[in-house]
Symmetry: C2
Subunit: 140 residues, 2 copies
Amino acid sequence: MSLSETWLNQMQSDGSRLTAPRRAVVEILAEADQALDPGEIFERARRQHPAIGLVTVYRTLEKLEALHLIERIHQHEGCHAYLRAAQGHEHVLLCERCGKALRFVGDDLEDLITALEKRTGFLIREHWLQLFGLCPACQA
Amino acid sequence: MSLSETWLNQMQSDGSRLTAPRRAVVEILAEADQALDPGEIFERARRQHPAIGLVTVYRTLEKLEALHLIERIHQHEGCHAYLRAAQGHEHVLLCERCGKALRFVGDDLEDLITALEKRTGFLIREHWLQLFGLCPACQA
DNA sequence: ATCGTTAATGAAAATGAATGTCAATATCAA
DNA sequence: TTGATATTGACATTCATTTTCATTAACGAT
Ligand SMILES: [Mn+2]
Ligand SMILES: [Mn+2]
Ligand SMILES: [Zn+2]
Ligand SMILES: [Zn+2]
């Protein structure tokens, strides 16, 4: 079963109806190797389903995010692009030029966090880590 | 010399004129222990200078950011808050409840980055790291 | 297969943050 | 003091996102 089928099943289990425009958006996001913003998703989705409205893109994003299937990625150029959600404790490495996104594991911040908690008195509950650079194809 | 005086001097050296509304915005940001968005800054600034316009807040933020005196902080609730810029290689620890911001050093990602470069072929040029939690005062 | 409930759709209008325009004003070097 | 010009705030504009709403479509029940 493909990832988009899995997502569609989860949406249906959650009470959502499966519609053509929704399928288009889901497939785009499940397949994407980069974070896409609502405008980009809309552009791509209307190739599959020309009648789709931008509103439906927004609404589908909202649902997918609520199900933790996608998550918002913050970048210099914008903070409204969405990418397949991390599986467990993963972070993301992004190409600054083409946008290609790769997830990785293995950051080791435990010692830093423990030391900071002791020193500052903060209770640290979450962290954001993102790496930026150039993917192999974009290194001229 | 206070931090806001230092900033004002730098702005003047850069060719900016020192005006009352500008002074108000600069003082707020130089003194703040948390990231503030344009609306919050506007609210506070009009106490000092009731005639100030929101546009001037935006324009002052732009100048301060160009001089690398402040930087934008991304959070769940919004991506348009500004905080005094990092001094060298610092990251930020934020209280999720009250917004209190603390800078810290000592993250050690060299090994991770080197390993990822080797494994993925990416050239990694930058990283974002932010820690979130509860400051001492907000841990009820 | 048909029906009926109601979720979902897209057009259109509304919202609201951020930018652009511009005439009046204030800064500051000369 | 003066004059060039940077800055100001009111106002208009842009544009992404949200809201509204009448119509359509999904799908469980029959
Ligand atoms: Mn981590
Ligand atoms: Mn670092
Ligand atoms: Zn952001
Ligand atoms: Zn690339």
